[in-house]
């Protein structure tokens, strides 16, 4: 017996759920089985136009809404996300493959926390009075930048939605959000919660669709004041180009990475193995800040490899709905083939497969946790972002050498270092060109700590107080006094 489950599959515009103007839909697929879950409205330029019009109409009212009310709505939304946590976690797990237990413990709670954190900022976004002299009264206002377009990825659908919506809404902006086509379902369900929480119509609009159509429409739109994008560096360039060619909308980008994790010989070896393991395999390697270049000091290299392989071989890969599963499938067939291709490139390039290196199972897009050793810096697997459970291990001698090698990349999103020595830690922290540096930990995210990339890993910062800057436009006021 098959039960047709009811999912929200329509576009969310003006607090209503509507079909795409074209009537078209696209399938969203369960990567554990390769089967279609349901069909979702396929938004295109006309739908983006409608959504922007709704957001523009709602903007004046929203920005004049007292900050305390905006805060209250964000807190209500956080409560609703927790209340519906099981259902939301289940949606993401089914839609893009992450284990249900992680979707619940990490994604749901992280999402609610981000909304609660930013709710607290609504009435704390201060302008300043600036003393200039007795015959002028000067002050600044931090006004909301306007209607913002937000394009989010599929790897952490709900947290990525919160990282975008929360600071924008708390600042008084209205939003047109395009979820990734691989993972639209939790976003549309959250659209229902947004209406339930009591947000006025038009403040948040969610248009599902493809990047080349709906996403491009956002980047090119003449009435969107700012675009925020998380995704690949390649598409990030297109977004910035489109923004420049249209109306010079403000742009922030969170892009790819090839983040180094540096293990010094004085680190606790077991903890260091755990770090290197989690840095790459978390979320099946589908994290922009994955620690995908693992530099291990030569004195402990052999022992490290042995322990890493032992650890990786224990990893439970399988059905994400099972509580014991640690790694689900890759998000879709395209990523799946891409990663297998990189594994092939690695093998052909002369690196050694120390563990994994193959598909896992016969159904769905599962890949074995894979480790390459005997990797050199110039190999493609050491330079290009793979976005899968494939770790590359490189040997180093000295701190100066490894910092130079770690920096020898066009990316600069994150980095990690494992050491007990204070001076080593600070030397590495000061020397690395990366937006986030983890010392004796990895992947740690706090809503209050800024996150973003150096170089081609992005422009701007999200989270923390810093994350508010992109949603404000500063107005200087100077009143002449008699």
């Amino acid at each position: 017996m098959s039960t047709e489950k009811k999912y929200q599959t329509k576009l969310f515009i003006n607090n209503k759920f509507v079909d795409a103007v074209s009537g078209k839909t696209f399938p969203t697929i369960n990567p554990s089985t390769g089967k279609v879950i349901t069909h979702v409205a396929e938004g295109d330029k006309e739908d983006i136009d409608k959504a922007v019009a709704a957001a523009r109409a709602a903007f004046e009212g929203w920005r004049k809404t007292g900050p305390v009310q905006r805060s209250s709505l964000l807190l209500k939304l956080a409560d609703l996300i927790i209340k519906n946590g099981d259902e939301l976690a289940q949606l993401d797990s089914m839609d893009m493959g992450k284990p249900f237990a992680q979707a619940k413990a990490i994604d749901v709670y992280g999402t609610a926390d981000c909304f609660r954190y930013y709710a607290g900022w609504a009435d704390k976004i201060h302008g300043k009075t600036v003393p200039v002299g007795s015959n002028f009264f000067c002050y600044t206002k931090h006004e909301p930048v306007g209607v913002v377009g937000q394009i989010i990825p599929w790897n952490f659908p709900m947290p990525m939605l919160a990282w975008k919506l929360a600071p924008a809404l708390t600042s008084g902006c209205t939003v047109v959000l395009k979820p990734a086509e691989q993972s639209p379902l939790s976003a549309l369900r959250i659209g229902e919660l947004i209406a339930e929480a009591g947000f006025p119509p038009g403040v948040v609009n969610i248009v599902t669709g493809y990047g080349e159509t709906a996403g491009a429409a956002i980047a090119n739109h003449m009435d969107i004041d700012k675009v925020a994008f998380t995704g690949s560096t390649e598409v990030g360039r297109l977004i910035q180009t489109a923004a420049a060619q249209s109306n010079l909308k403000r742009v922030t980008l969170e892009l790819g990475g090839k983040s180094p994790l540096i293990i010094f010989k004085d680190a606790n070896i077991n903890e260091a193995v755990e770090l290197g393991y989690n840095a790459i395999f978390f979320n099946a390697g589908q994290v922009c800040n994955a620690g995908s270049r693992l530099f291990v000091q030569e004195e402990i290299y052999d022992e490290y490899v042995q322990k890493f392989v032992e650890r990786a071989n224990k990893r439970v890969v399988g059905d994400p709905s099972n509580h014991g599963t640690e790694q689900g499938p890759q998000v879709d067939e395209k990523q799946f083939h891409r990663i297998l291709e990189y594994i092939d490139i690695g093998k052909k390039g002369g690196a050694t497969v120390a563990c994994g290196g193959q598909r896992h199972g016969n159904e769905g897009f599962f890949i074995q946790p894979t480790l390459f050793t005997n990797v050199t810096d110039d190999m493609r697997i050491a330079k290009e972002e793979i976005f899968g459970p494939v770790q590359t291990l490189l040997k180093f001698k000295t701190v100066e050498e490894v910092v130079a090698r770690a920096n020898d990349t066009s990316y600069g999103l994150a980095a990690g270092v494992a050491t007990k020595d204070l001076n080593t830690a600070l030397k590495v922290v000061d020397g690395l060109r990366a937006g986030t540096i983890w010392v004796n930990n990895f992947h740690t995210i706090f809503s209050s700590m800024p996150f973003g990339g150096f170089k081609t890993s992005g422009i701007g910062r999200e989270l923390g107080e810093y994350g508010l800057a992109q949603y404000s436009e500063i107005k200087s006021v100077m009143i002449k006094l008699e």
């Binding site: 954190y117 607290g120 704390k124």
Partner: protein
């Protein structure tokens, strides 16, 4: 649940627990001593509560000290934020009975006390929102040195509350205190402990770890035990300037604990000639008669431009005469909080008459039965040297003074040892800035009077106190670097 028998008062719901709240438990005072809590509405004894002595304060401080390094510390900023949000929700469910209880306890009209208490859930949410946002800095010094600052809690804080807006004062202090990770020993004013006890029940219910919040009731000696205490790290006091001095002295003589004082005022409200007289009369009347004049910020010197002076005085008199005095649960003007205040206000009114101010209306005690009622009183032709123009009365007594020029009125506004607040009513931009930039007061209201917001810093210049409550600065007062 204890309820009042009188039919007028059957909405007054007492707290379930009428004992000291120490280390997560409700206990009698060590001595077993109690004292009566009296309603100024009917002069009846509402209930008896424990008289806390030095030993009770010691127990509370010890509990608060232990709590600093227990589960409370491990919760971190996010945990504190989330607990405070839960407390906001709990208080929100209990707003109405809290407003009625407060009004019956201190005589402040429910039409004022209720909306003030109604703001408290959002006030708590404001402070909760700061818990995870108070950053230190990382200054750039040189290649050789890595430096950073941290904002840490101060430690065990003593909160000494007034009787005029008891619950508002409690939350305004406790909100940022807890958000920043401190623990607290609270002494409500002896006249008004009841809403504090009720909130202790909610704090307990919501799950704050034991010892984080403690309540010790008592009189001045209980407060002195706190201000002299060697293991209290900070005192936040709201009350009279006279007692504020004693708090500061005791802090200096004991352990140099940090001191924050919110004291008295003699705040000027300046009405310029271009003001709409009816609107100005309304604002000025509310500025002095709200809560029976028992607010530290009342506009108790009304400076009116000579061009509109007569019209203003005439309309003010009519306005004051129309105010009806009665039970604060029903009327907008209730009794003063106790006999001491009542005697004092009447005495100052007599002094006003003796020194030659013109009594426009009021001035006699409200007759007819028990209760410390005083009629709204208006004096005109008041001059700067009169006692009623210099001393804080803390009652429903409006003083109207005439002025001619901006420079003159600014000078006269500042001719006081106080500096809590000020107001200006005008349409002219330049008058606005002349007053707001030049009057030495912690808050200046323009075309309004009295509203305070948790987002804005509030506090005194000069002998109105020091330190700020509210705003980013107010929150920082509960940290050390």
């Amino acid at each position: 649940v204890a309820k009042m028998a009188d039919k007028n008062l059957n909405n007054v719901v007492l707290p379930t627990q009428l004992k000291l709240y120490i280390d997560g438990e409700w206990v009698d005072s060590v001595s077993g001593q109690k004292f009566p809590v009296i309603s100024p509405v009917d002069e009846k004894v509402i209930c008896h509560v424990p008289e806390g002595s030095l030993e009770d304060v010691d127990k509370a401080v010890a509990a608060a000290r232990r709590a600093l390094t227990g589960p409370w510390a491990k919760m971190g900023p996010k945990g504190r934020r989330n607990l405070l949000l839960k407390l906001a929700d709990a208080i929100e469910r209990d707003i109405k009975p809290l407003g009625v209880l407060e009004s019956y306890n201190n005589g402040g009209p429910v039409s004022f006390q209720q909306p003030v208490i109604g703001c408290l859930p959002d006030d708590i949410r404001y402070y909760a929102g700061w818990a995870d946002k108070v950053d230190g800095k990382v200054p750039n010094i040189s290649e050789e040195f890595h430096a950073y600052s941290r904002k840490e809690p101060i430690g065990v804080c003593g909160l000494i509350l007034p009787w005029n807006v008891p619950l508002w004062s409690l939350i305004t202090k406790l909100g940022p205190c807890l958000a920043m990770g401190n623990t607290a020993v609270i002494k409500p004013a002896e006249q008004t402990p009841l809403t504090a006890f009720k909130v202790a029940e909610l704090i307990h219910q919501v799950g704050f770890p034991k010892g984080v919040v403690n309540i010790v009731t008592g009189h001045g000696a209980t407060g002195a035990a706190m201000t002299k205490h060697m293991d209290i790290d900070k005192i936040s006091f709201t009350g009279s300037t006279e007692v504020g001095r004693l708090v500061m002295k005791a802090a200096a003589d004991s352990n140099l604990k940090k001191v924050q004082l919110e004291l008295g005022g003699k705040s000027p409200l300046v009405v310029f000639g271009d003001a709409d007289v009816d609107e100005a009369v309304e604002i000025a009347s509310n500025a002095i008669f709200t809560n029976n004049g028992e607010l530290c910020t009342v506009g108790s010197r009304t400076f009116v431009h000579s061009s509109i002076y007569s019209a203003f005085v005439e309309k003010t008199r009519k306005r004051a005469q129309a105010l009806v005095v009665g039970s604060p649960l029903e009327k907008n003007n209730g009794p003063l909080v106790d006999k001491d205040q009542y005697d004092r206000v009447l005495s100052l009114i007599e002094t006003g008459k003796k020194e030659g101010a013109k009594l426009e209306c009021g001035g006699i005690k409200h007759s007819g039965g028990p209760g410390f009622f005083v009629q709204p009183t208006v004096f005109s032709n008041v001059t700067d040297n009169m006692t009623i123009a210099r001393e804080e009365i803390f009652g429903p007594v409006q003083s109207i003074l005439k002025f001619d020029t901006v420079e003159e009125v600014v000078r006269r506004c500042n001719a006081t040892q106080y500096g809590l607040a000020a107001g200006v009513i005008t349409k002219d931009i330049n008058n606005v800035f002349a007053i707001s930039n030049n009057v030495k007061a912690g808050t200046v209201w323009v075309n309004t009077y009295l509203p305070v917001f948790p987002q804005c810093e509030f506090g005194g210049y000069k002998q109105s106190g020091f330190g700020r409550e509210g705003g980013a600065e107010g929150v920082l007062e509960w940290t050390q670097t």
